[in-house]
């Protein structure tokens, strides 16, 4: 089985984002960018499945600006076998919407015929939590979102999902789209030799036009603003003072 893993280049999760003064968006020029943390977990899972003999090949694909190549190299250094870069934007501030991403991924799936698509449950920039589900819909495939355990069993996969009430186990027919949650695994760091090796692994360069997919947005961004600011309150000296404040000042207990 071949596993396809879509990976997104996003602002590093440690960076404090800055909203641009003119309300046009978030400043992404000269900030540290990394692989979306959930996608790292998906890459790790695919590699582990290959190591366990459940998969033969791991193909990673990224859709966005040319610089996403670095993200793909990271995935190759972790252990993916080859990569596909689909350039769909010139400006680092352009975010390709999940619907368009899903359409491009569908085109890649049609070509590559993977047995499973493993993706992150959400990207930490637009926090949309949509691409995997949309791709499953376009393919007419089964979907298992928010996975914290995946077991492949012949033509099915058993997936444990993190849901509001706790956990849910479902059995999905393959091929399937599985979106991964935080506790599925801990991604490995790429070793220096593997980083060197990754430079020689195949990376195919395409554009959205090659697949005939229109990536123009359906959502017009009217404005981007700072959230209402919360001011720090006071430091209390003792538990007694805390209880007093909660009772008599805030009135919440």
């Amino acid at each position: 089985m071949k596993i396809l893993v879509p990976v997104k280049r996003v602002i590093d999760y440690n960076v404090k984002v800055r909203v641009k003064g003119d309300g046009s968006g978030v400043d992404l020029a000269n900030v540290k960018m990394s692989m979306n943390p959930f996608d790292e977990i998906a890459v790790e899972q695919a590699i582990r499945m290959k190591e366990a003999g459940d998969a033969e090949e791991v193909v990673v694909v990224s859709i966005g600006v040319k610089q996403s190549q670095e993200t793909l190299r990271t995935a190759l250094a972790m252990g993916a076998d080859r990569a596909i870069l689909i350039t769909a934007a010139d400006d680092v501030h352009t975010d390709i919407e999940p619907l368009a991403v899903a359409k491009l991924l569908k085109a890649v799936v049609d070509e590559e015929q993977p047995g499973m698509v493993l993706c992150g449950k959400q990207a930490i920039d637009n926090d949309m939590n949509a691409t995997g589900q949309m791709l499953a819909a376009l393919l007419g495939w089964s979907q298992a979102t928010f996975a914290s355990e995946i077991k492949v069993d012949g033509d099915h996969a058993l997936v444990k999902r993190e849901v509001d009430g706790g956990m849910q186990s479902i059995k999905v027919k393959m091929p399937a789209v599985v979106s991964v949650d935080l506790r599925l695994n801990e991604p490995r760091y790429a070793s220096l030799p593997n980083i060197m090796k990754a430079k020689k692994k195949p990376l195919d360069e395409k554009t959205a036009d090659d697949y005939g997919v229109d990536v123009s947005p359906r959502l017009e961004i009217v404005k981007t603003s700072e959230p209402p600011e919360r001011k720090a309150g006071i430091i209390v000296e003792s538990v007694d003072q805390l209880v007093d404040k909660l009772k008599n000042e805030a009135g919440v207990i």
Binding site: I124, D127, S148, E162, P227, G233, V243, L246
Partner: protein
Amino acid sequence: MTVLLLGEVDNGTLNMDATAKAVAACKPLGDIHVLCCGAEAADAGKEAATIDGVAKVLVAEDAIYGHRLAEPTAALMVSLAGDYDHVVAPATTDAKNILPRVAALLDVMVITDVSGVVDADTFERPIYAGNAIQTVKSKDAKKVVSIRTSSFDAAGTGNSAEVSDVATGDAPGLSEWVEDHVAESDRPDLTSAGIVVSGGRGVGSEEDFAMIEKLADKLGAAVGASRAAVDSGYAPNDWQVGQTGKVVAPDLYVAVGISGAIQHLAGMKDSKIIVAINKDEEAPIFQVADYGLVADLFEAVPELESKL
């Protein structure tokens, strides 16, 4: 204009809080029809009919909708969507699973986790873990929208809307439910509780997390946790508060042994009053806390519990 709203039905029971908050969010959008589906959904439908602002309730009761698997539920919603301008659901894990599938089948870009409804086409939603609020205007003919329930007050009850059955579909045969692993609890639900007490990595162990639960019980509160506490096995996954866990906005949020990473703040910074107990006076949580107590939690928490 009419809205099709997916009611939150969990094993035959309506989640009133989530559904009534989503109804309130949809008020400016037009008449609201609530769809209740499940292996059992008739009782949930009756409940939904009592929510103020609901014009009609549609019930789809069939074993194929049991556990609300995404594939059959999305197919049902798509079969009904023709008559509606908006397809909406509260942003629970079920809806997060189902709605993007519905949107893609309708060739619409989904708008998730909406925290403000500006007009029929325009919505506000938090991005970058709530560090920015984006206002987006949809160019799609139909809008598929999920609602961040913590941003809205629940609609009242007392209504008696008309309830009717709708035709159910065929099972797509793509996925099967196997089992739920759900811990029953008498505590209030995390997303609707008036008070939440959360513990972080500082609590140190699953055994000591009982201290957090004891404090919560004294306050009649729900229990939450940071990702680090869940990852370390101190608390179950469904207690996680944050960017990728639950979003809460109680009257009182007590953060114990939590540093205040942006991903955690994303889930609780809209709480009315925030209390932080942390031994590190530099911890970022103090920057959003109304009342901060710099103390060792192993002393402060039992003392607080005893003085309430």
